[in-house]
């Protein structure tokens, strides 16, 4: 046990003596937070792009009512701008009010308002339920007026000017912050992977610098050395996770206050997976340059495939199926479930899958180390 703490102390000392490591540690926390603050944190309102193809009284009223909620900022768009503005994030979502909207409402068969978004259900859910409620009112008025336009508008104006207007109490809308925190935690997951790799890579750095040779000439057991590296990695990982979650929860007051611990557990499970993957990369690499290249080739594409940067449903179905074999997918999926009000019971399977990935990686790494002529001879 003494040797374990001794090597852990030395690894930690070496970690903090190298400026590059501290910079990576700080970046892994700062960049996701910056992303969170500056990309999404500026305004509480969702920017809704609007294309009104109907240009009727009720379509105009529908648009006005959106603005009156204080939750939406309406931006009028031309039809050919819609995809560009949505994909570049100029607007959070866009709605298209179809032609003959008023006519169909009067017929008692209101057409759906099309919603365009790339930010997932978290953003569109609130907008969709709001529009559904409004259209439902129009539908009921249409039914009550038996399709008579004059009667419809009489009742409609009464409804609009009614002193007994429905006062809406909006339960906290977590949609927007949920998207922001999921994406920023996605970035954090990527940095966490580089960070855990960096510490596992100490093993190869020690081989390169020959201190590895000196360490194993001493009576220290190889497994003590490997376990100490794992624990240092785990401690720093937990610290990073705790710090970023505390910042999001207590300083930014965002989102998942009640579920912070659940997210913490998901991220720690992913952290262990990431450490396992890093150890495996190191075990399969003959040199630091090889391991650096291999880690980049593994981490960045798997983050893309695992839904770290964008929602999985935007990808082709085949790639979505491939993502089942990528740990990041299960972490992001668990975070999204918790963000949408889920609890640990909804994500325990995700955690089990993540830990199964971790175990597989670690066992493969140990097998490789034990059977490798080059490394096995040294350990």
């Amino acid at each position: 046990m003494r040797e374990l703490f001794l090597v852990m102390g030395n690894t930690s000392k070496l970690f903090f003596r190298r400026k590059g490591n501290i910079i990576l540690l700080i970046f892994s926390i700062i960049i996701p937070l910056f992303f969170l603050l500056f990309t999404y944190g500026g305004s509480e309102q969702l920017r809704i792009g609007v294309i009104d193809k109907d240009k009727s009284v009720i379509s105009s009223d529908l648009i006005n009512s959106l603005e009156k909620t204080d939750k939406f900022k309406v931006v009028f768009l031309k039809e050919d701008e819609i995809n560009d503005k949505v994909s570049k994030g100029k607007v959070d979502s866009a709605i298209v009010i179809p032609q003959r909207f008023e006519e169909e409402v009067l017929k008692g068969n209101p057409k759906d308002v099309e919603i365009v978004s790339i930010k997932g259900e978290e953003t569109t859910l609130f907008l969709k339920s709001y529009l559904d409620r409004k259209i439902n009112v129009l539908y009921n008025l249409s039914k009550a007026s038996y399709g008579n336009k004059e009667n419809f508008y009489k009742m409609y104006n009464l409804y609009k000017n009614s002193p007994f207007s429905l006062k809406t109490y909006i339960v906290e809308d977590i949609g927007k912050t949920a998207v922001a925190t999921t994406r920023s935690l996605g970035f954090f997951i990527m940095f966490l992977m580089f960070s855990t790799f960096n510490i596992s890579n100490f093993i190869l750095v020690e081989k390169r610098d020959k201190t590895f040779y000196r360490i194993f000439a001493s009576p220290l057991k190889p497994r003590t050395y490997l376990v100490s590296n794992f624990f240092v990695n785990l401690i720093l990982t937990v610290f990073q996770i705790a710090f970023i979650l505390a910042f999001i929860t207590f300083i930014l007051n965002l989102g998942f206050t009640k579920a912070t611990f659940d997210i913490f557990l998901v991220l720690v499970s992913f952290g262990i997976t990431s450490i396992g993957l890093s150890l495996m990369i190191v075990a399969f690499s003959p040199s630091t340059s090889y391991s650096n290249t291999l880690s980049t080739l593994i981490i960045t594409p798997t983050c893309m495939l695992g839904g770290v940067f964008w929602p999985l449903y935007l990808m082709p179905e085949t790639l979505q199926r491939v993502s089942d074999f990528i740990p990041q997918k299960w972490a992001i999926d668990a975070i999204e479930k918790i963000q949408m009000g889920g609890s640990l019971s909804d994500v325990y399977m995700n955690i089990i899958i993540l830990l199964a990935f971790a175990l597989t990686f670690i066992l493969l790494g140990i097998y490789k180390i034990k059977t490798s002529e080059k490394m096995g001879d040294f350990i």
Partner: protein
């Protein structure tokens, strides 16, 4: 007591035989030299003695204990100075020595005293708080030694400890090696600099292509390759010198006169040096210079292998 015993050790790396039936016996208190060119198998041999490398066949005993059965005891009593400097560039000299010494169980006051003693031994006491990244090559090599001796090992293995350093640091290391030996440590010293091995080693093995091709004291090794001794005598004038008279001296095999220098080759076993000097004195011929050519280890290696040590 035999500190190290290697018996018919074979080590293969794939198709390459790194050690081919190597037999070595190293006595306690020796400075044992392993001499040979790069790739001769020296580092492989010492990696096996340290318990860092497995071997395919044979037996290895260190401190009379089988290395396969009691590696921990053996490792605890060995200090290794690796060929490549193996220190942490970001830790101070003190921290480096303290960390490696603590891996051998040293702690507290004992650790502190041992670290200070080791740094003083290699002349780095005043650099204890500095990081090796700022050290010269020689200073790094000395710290490399300090890290190996702080736990006071019975056997110190030095693998090419002087590669690429200035003459001053080299002398310091050679002196330190001798002092370590005087303090009770047995030393295994590998090098491809034959003059270093000649200067400090009590016994020497010459290795080539994974084999021990010769073993013994320096004198024993040189006598293996030659049975003659050559003397060069420089005089003012060769007038009055008769080659036949010189050849008549007991043991002289050949005489060669060139300009003012006479080369006399004699049988090594015959002590005729006094007779040769007397010949010149009796003829009132003043000797300006006299040089006795003794075959060195380079000659031994060249003779045994047909190539130079640093080829």
């Amino acid at each position: 007591m035999k500190i190290v015993r290697m018996e018919d050790v074979i080590k293969r790396f794939g198709d390459v035989i790194a050690l081919d039936n190597v037999n070595l016996e190293i006595e306690e208190g020796e400075i044992y030299g392993l001499l040979g060119p790069n790739g001769a198998g020296k580092t492989t041999a010492i990696s096996i003695i340290c318990g860092l490398l497995n071997f395919d066949r044979g037996e290895v005993y260190v401190f009379d204990k089988n290395i396969r059965k009691e590696p921990e005891f053996i490792k605890k009593n060995i200090g290794i100075v690796p060929q490549d400097v193996a220190i942490y560039g970001d830790l101070t000299a003190y921290e480096n020595v303290a960390f490696f010494a603590s891996l051998y169980g040293l702690k507290g006051k004992e650790l502190k005293e041992s670290v200070e003693m080791s740094l003083e031994f290699v002349g780095l006491s005043d650099k204890a708080k500095e990081v090796p990244n700022k050290f010269s090559g020689g200073m790094k090599r000395r710290l490399n030694i300090a890290c190996a001796i702080a736990h006071r090992p019975k056997l110190v293995i030095m693998d090419e400890p002087t590669v690429g350093i200035d003459p001053q640091s080299r002398n310091h290391i050679l002196e330190s090696t001798k002092r370590l030996n005087e303090m009770g440590s047995t030393i295994i010293y590998t090098s491809h600099y034959m003059e270093e091995v000649e200067a400090i080693c009590t016994r020497i093995s010459i290795m080539d292509h994974g084999k021990v091709i010769a073993e013994g004291t320096k004198e024993e090794l040189t006598s293996m390759v030659t049975d003659v001794n050559t003397v060069y005598i420089e005089i003012g004038s060769i007038d009055g010198i008769k080659e036949e008279e010189l050849k008549g001296i007991k043991g002289v095999k050949a005489v060669e006169i060139r300009d003012s220098t006479i080369k006399i080759t004699s049988l090594k076993d015959v002590g005729n040096f006094d007779d040769i000097i007397h010949y010149f004195i009796s003829k009132n011929i003043p000797i300006r210079n006299l040089r006795n050519e003794i075959p060195d280890l380079e000659t031994v290696f060249l003779t045994l292998t047909g190539r130079k040590l640093r080829d």
